[in-house]
Amino acid sequence: MVKDKATVVVVGGGATGVGILRDLSMRGIDALLIEKLDMVNGASSRYHGLLHSGARYAVRDQEAAKECIEENTILRRIGKSCVEAISGMFVQVEGDDPDFVDPWVKGCAESGIKTREMSKEEALRLEPNLSRKLVRAFEVPDGAIDGFRMSWQNVLSAARYGGRYKTYTELIKINVEGGAVKSITVRDNVTKEEYDIECEILVNAAGPWAGKVAQMAGLDCSVSPSKGTLIAFNQRISNRVVNRLRKPSNGDIFVPHGSITILGTSSITIPDPEDTSTSWDEVEELMKTGEGVFEHLRDYRILRVFAGSRPLYVPKGADGGRNASRGFVTLDHEKEDGLKGMMTICGGKFTTYRLMAEKFCDVLAPKLGNTAKCRTAEEDLVPAVSEADKKAARQYFPSYGVNLAATRLGTDKFPEVVKTLKENPETREVLCECENVTMAEVMRIAQEPTSHSVADVRRRTRLGMGTCQGNYCAIRSAAIANKLFKDKLEGCGDSLSDMKNFLQARWKGITPVMAGKTLREAEMTRGMYEVLFNVNGGRR
C-alpha cells in the first residue's frame, strides 16, 4: 500500500545521508530520508571524531588531503557547536622512519596544509604526556568533531527547508517497473507495519550496508566493510589531536573530546557490517602502538572500546582494508547498469561528508531539472543559541552545563527547557552529572517524534554516556523514564529490565578492556547493582 511519496528518498541516516538530505532540501528538492534504526548509529558516530587537516593523506593521496583542508575550514565555520577548534600535532618518535618526514612536509605544503615544526622542548611543554622518545613534532590544523551531533544538526537544518526524515524505517524492497525505480517498500521497525513510498530517485547512502541495498535492485556494488576499533580513555591525555608521523597505520591517532580521549583505529575487513565485536588482540595492538606516543598509556583508565564499519568502496580487482581509497564514488545506476531512478554513493570520510553531498547532488539535481547551486557551505547548520537565553539558563543549570545543553538542544528547544526549569523546580534535578543532563531536558527530548525508546532519549541527551559509564545514572534514568514516559516510550514499564539493559549496553564496550582501572570500575558497578540493589530479583 502506498502511504507516502517523495521526489527523492535517501536510504541511510549516517553523515552521508544526512548531508545529502540537507543539500537537496536547500536546493528546493523534496526529499525524505529513511533510517532503519535511530539516526547516526553506524560509523558516523563510531569513529575517532577527527576533523582531518588532511595531513594524514598528504603523501599518498593529495587530492583527499586538499579536500580535507578545505572542508575542515568550512565545517569549523558552519558547525561551530560540533567542532572543538583545537589544533593537532604530528609526532615522530625514536624508531620511526626519518625519511618519511620530508615528503610529508612537502606533501602538506602542496596540498595547502600549514605545518610548523616545533622544538622538542616546546612540544613537551604543550603536551607533557608525550613520550620522552619524541624526535620531531609539527603543528597542523586538525580538530575534533562530534559526529553524532553534527549529523543531527544536518537533519534539523534540512527540516527547516522542508526535508523530512523517518527513523526506525527499514528498506525491505525496491520496486522496479519498466527499467525504473517506482517505489520502495519499507517496514516500520516500531509498529512492524509495511508500506510503500513512491519516489522518482532512490539514493543509496547506506554506507557499509550499501552493497546490501544495491542487491535489492539486483545490482552489484562492491562495498568492503572495514571495521575500525577505537579505545576511549577517561581523560584528556592531550589538548591537541596527536598523530604519529609515519606511513598511516593502526593506532596512530589520539583525539581529545570534552573530558575524554579516543585512540584509533584498526582496519579489519569484515563480511558483516553489523559486526562491532572487538578482541584482546585488537586492543593490545592499539595499546602497544599508542604507548609509543604516550608512554604511560596503560595507567590511564579506559572507559570503553567500540568499533564501527567504514564503507570502503573497492573497484573490481582491487583489495580492501587500509589500502582501499578513503575517497568516494558516485554511481549513477542509469549509466552503469541501465536502471533508471537509482544512485549510490559510497566510501568517503566524515570530514568531507559535505563535499561528497555537494558533488553527488550536482549529478542528481539536473536529472530533476533543478539547476540550483549548492549552498550548504554558506549557511551555519543551526543558528547559535542567544547569549540572553544562556544567561537566563545559568540561574537553573549547573553553569558549566549551560553550553553543553545549549548545543545539544539548539535554538528552538533550549528556551523551552529553560522555561520548564524556571516554572517547575523539580525538573532541575541533574540526572547525569558527567554530561550535565537535567530532568527537564530529558522530558523535552522524549517528546520528539524520533524518540521511540529510552535508548533514543539517552543518545540525544547523552544521559548516561559520560565517564561514570552509567554507574550513577542507570538507576536515575530508569526511574524517571518509567515515571514520566510509561506507555509512551518503548522499553518503559519495567524499570529493572531498563536498568539492566542500559548497563549491559555499556558492558559490551567494557569487557574487551577488563584490566587495569577498568576492573576497579567493574567491581564497583557490580557491587552497586548486584549486591546493593540485587537487580536480578529476590527470592529466586
Binding site: 550513577y472 559490551k508 552497586m528 546493593l532 540485587n534
Partner: protein, 413 residues
C-alpha cells in the same frame, strides 16, 4: 619505632574485624588505614551466602557454606570459624548498643533501594524487610529532593516481589530544604538527627501509619546507631523498615563508627591516612611494612601481618595488564584465570560467576599465601577479605561474610 604483635593493613570490614579479634586475643595491634573500605558502598549488612553456584537463593547459609567448591574461601575457613566469628561480631555490636539480628540458619530479607528483595544474614533491626511479608498495606515514603531514591520505582518493584494483594501507598515527605543542590541519604539522616527534623518528618507520615501497616523509608533514620529507629517505631506504632541505599550508605557508616568505637576501647592503635607501600622480608618471614603519605614512609614492625586491603575496587589487587595480577604489598601468589574466552561473561547480569571477580591471593586453610605446590610463601602473613581468591562476592552475596570469617580465622591463627 615500637613493635606490635600484629599489624593489620586495611580499614574495611575485614581489617577492622581482624584488629578487634587480634586485640581480643591479648595482642598489641596496629591498624594501618587508608580510605574507608567498602562501608559506604555495602550498606553495612553481613551477607554470608545469598545465592548458590546456580544462582538459586540459599535458604540456610550454614548448610550451603558447607557445600561450597574447594577453591572457595569458606572451604578453607571452615564452618566452625564462621560460626564463632558470627557470635563474636554480634557480641561486639550489641555491646556498642547497635545489635544485629539474624543467624546462620536462615536468611533475613532486605528491601533494596530499587524495591527488590535481597537475602542477607546479619542485619540491623531497622532493615528487617520481612516485616512487610505479613502486612496488608505498605506505605512507601519518599523524600522531596532526595537523589537516587525513586519511591515510585521502589513501589513498582516491591509490588512485583510481594504481590498485588497488598496495598501500596506512596507518601512524599518535604524536608523544607532551601539549598540548591540535590540531597543524599546522608543529608536527610543528619536532618533526622535534629529534633526539629525528626518532628517535621513524623508529622508528615503519622497519618499514614497504623496497625497492619509497614512504613518503608530510604536509609535516613539518623547517623547514630539505632537511636532514631527505636524512637520512630515507638511513636508511629508500626514497623519501620529502611532500604539499602546508593553510596554513601548511611548504615555502612553507622557500622563503621560502631566498630571504630570498639577498636578504641580495645586500645588498638589506628594510623590514619597511611598507605602501606612495601614490605620488608627476611627469609620466609615479613618483619615490617613501610607505610605513609606523600612525603616519607614509616616502618611498622610486627611478628604477624594481616592483609585486608581489598580487591580491585580497593586496590589491594591490581592488574595493570591482562594476566599481570598482583597483591600490591607482599607480592603474595595470585590465582588468576586470565583467558580471553573465560575472563568476562558477555552478560553483566547472568546466571554465572564472573571469572575476573575470583582473582585474588591463593591461600591454604591457614589463610596464608601458597605457591602452586601448596607451600606457604610467607610464614607470618595472613589474608582476610576480598584479597582472597576463589569467590565472586557480587554473584553470591557473600562479601562481608567472607570478610568476617576470614578476619576471625586470620586473627586467631
Amino acid at each position: 619505632m615500637s613493635k606490635s604483635d600484629v599489624v593489620v593493613i586495611g580499614n574495611g570490614f575485614a581489617g577492622l574485624m581482624s584488629a578487634l579479634v587480634s586485640a581480643d586475643q591479648g595482642k598489641k595491634v596496629t591498624l594501618l588505614s587508608y580510605g574507608a573500605g567498602t562501608f559506604p558502598l555495602n550498606s553495612g549488612v553481613i551477607d554470608v551466602l545469598g545465592y548458590d553456584d546456580s544462582g538459586k537463593a540459599v535458604a540456610n547459609p550454614a548448610q550451603a557454606v558447607g557445600a561450597v567448591a574447594d577453591e572457595h574461601p569458606y572451604k578453607k575457613i571452615g564452618t566452625q570459624a564462621l560460626e564463632e566469628s558470627v557470635k563474636f561480631f554480634q557480641d561486639v555490636v550489641a555491646a556498642e548498643g547497635f545489635p544485629y539480628v539474624g543467624s546462620l540458619n536462615e536468611q533475613q530479607w532486605l528491601i533494596t533501594g530499587v524495591g527488590t528483595l535481597k537475602p542477607s544474614c546479619l542485619i540491623p533491626e531497622s532493615m528487617q524487610g520481612s516485616k512487610c511479608f505479613e502486612a496488608s498495606e505498605i506505605v512507601l515514603v519518599g523524600v522531596k529532593g532526595l537523589k537516587d531514591y525513586y519511591v515510585d520505582m521502589v513501589a513498582e518493584n516491591l509490588a512485583k516481589e510481594l504481590g498485588n494483594d497488598k496495598k501500596y501507598t506512596v507518601v512524599t515527605v518535604d524536608p523544607h530544604y532551601k539549598g540548591a543542590r540535590d540531597l543524599t541519604t546522608k543529608d536527610v539522616a543528619s536532618w533526622m538527627d535534629t529534633d526539629a527534623g525528626y518532628s517535621d518528618f513524623v508529622s508528615q507520615v503519622k497519618e499514614s501509619a497504623g496497625a497492619g501497616k509497614v512504613i518503608v523509608v530510604p536509609q535516613i533514620l539518623g547517623l547514630k546507631g539505632n537511636v532514631v529507629w527505636k524512637k520512630i517505631v515507638a511513636e508511629l506504632g508500626c514497623p519501620v523498615v529502611e532500604t539499602t541505599a546508593m553510596p554513601p550508605s548511611v548504615n555502612g557508616l553507622r557500622l563503621r563508627d560502631v566498630l571504630l568505637s570498639a577498636l578504641k576501647k580495645k586500645g588498638i592503635t589506628v594510623i590514619e591516612n597511611s598507605k602501606a607501600e612495601e614490605a620488608v622480608i627476611e627469609g620466609s618471614k615479613a618483619v615490617a611494612v613501610k607505610a605513609g603519605g606523600e612525603v616519607r614512609l614509616q616502618t611498622y614492625n610486627a611478628d604477624k601481618f594481616i592483609v585486608a586491603t581489598g580487591g580491585f575496587y580497593s586496590g589491594g589487587i591490581t592488574m595493570r595488564d591482562f594476566g599481570e595480577a598482583k597483591e600490591v604489598i607482599f607480592g603474595l601468589p595470585i590465582e588468576c584465570d586470565c583467558v580471553e574466552e573465560r575472563w568476562v561473561n558477555k552478560q553483566l547480569f547472568s546466571d554465572k560467576k564472573q571469572t575476573f571477580a575470583k582473582t585474588g591471593v591463593r591461600v591454604d586453610a591457614t589463610l596464608r599465601g601458597v605457591n602452586e605446590s601448596g607451600n606457604v610463601v610467607l610464614q607470618n602473613v595472613y589474608v582476610a577479605g576480598r584479597n582472597l581468591s576463589g569467590y565472586d562476592f557480587c554473584f553470591e552475596h557473600s562479601g562481608n561474610g567472607v570478610a568476617l570469617a576470614s578476619a576471625y580465622k586470620a586473627a586467631k591463627a
